[in-house]
Symmetry: C2
Subunit: 196 residues, 2 copies
């Protein structure tokens, strides 16, 4: 943030009155600009004991696998956003079943909000396919997840817990934060709620 | 967003290549500026069958009551932010007990992420008090909540469900979205998870 989005003036870091941290403040019109974490919404799409993975056709992490997920848009709910991303990235229609995870990834200020969803089969035509941001989309059993080729730490964490949940036969909803420590990702503040 | 925060050039609404909606795009350096929903993190702080309310000393909704909550900051987790807000607004130290709600308020693109927390009593001195953003802070029984003087619809929705949960003796975690329809707030996509 170098310039004010309101008036185009130069900004500089200042601690506004009554606050305890630096913000980008406009030197011309004094507007205070706040930066806040962004939400990433997505789905673990289930079908016949398998889940849907997409091979990324865009950076970051081109060629790596992930679940359908992306930045939440203005005016939509997290569930609507998760369903939208499933359609955009995997041409899949889904029915959200339950919340699955809320992981705050603190070092990049992103909150992953993930849901379990069921694939809704169309009356005719393919049930899913690669959207413009995917090279390939496929259904895999939990045992077939390509752990070394996953794009994002938060998705890997969610799929590890998902694999545990499937093995135990009890789905949970996982809350927590993912921190980078000594080059590794560590899940903290982990709370697992039973899903009725 | 009138000017580019990168170079100070004028922006104009354009649909970037490969996207389906207008963004503010810089006419000078072509940077695409994205707007995303913001997260509001807060606590229902419990103590001796009561919960903590703060009377707002700032706009919006000066003089109305709410729970300690505010915008999540970069680099913190939602739980850390909820505890920080409890300290800033009510000078209270808390221990987060469980997630309580995630409500997307779609018409203002805000996500309320609320936790139940217990008040941690200090070795000496007052357990809580009005921070700079509060006129007054007090503990109330659910039956004493001033329903007509609450500041925000999402907090009112959370406290209504909380009051139900207390009456039934079973806490839940509530997920859903709050939409404005015909001047009223309606909770949709409501999923209630049992809390262990």
């Amino acid at each position: 943030m170098n310039f004010c989005s309101q008036c185009g003036g130069k900004t500089e870091p200042r601690i506004p009155k009554g606050e305890d941290r630096e913000r980008a403040v406009c030197t011309q019109c004094s507007t205070v600009h706040y930066l806040n974490p962004k939400m990433i919404v997505g789905c673990i799409i289930e079908h016949d004991g398998q889940i849907m993975l997409c091979k990324r056709a865009i950076e970051p992490r081109y060629g790596f696998w992930t679940i359908p997920a992306g930045f939440m848009e203005m005016g939509e709910s997290a569930m609507q956003g998760a369903a939208r991303e499933s359609h955009e990235e995997a041409s899949a229609h889904v029915r959200i079943v339950a919340p699955y995870a809320h992981f705050d990834v603190t070092h990049i200020s992103q909150a992953y909000i993930l849901y379990r969803a069921h694939l809704v089969l169309p009356k005719e035509g393919p049930a899913f396919g690669a959207g413009s941001e995917s090279l390939e989309v496929k259904l895999v059993r939990p045992s077939e997840i390509p752990w070394g080729e996953l794009a994002f730490g938060a998705v890997k964490q969610a799929l590890e817990l998902y694999t545990e949940d499937v093995a135990s036969g009890r789905y949970r909803c996982h809350i927590g934060s993912i921190h980078r420590e000594d080059g590794r990702f560590v899940l903290k503040e982990h709370i697992a709620l039973p899903v009725g």
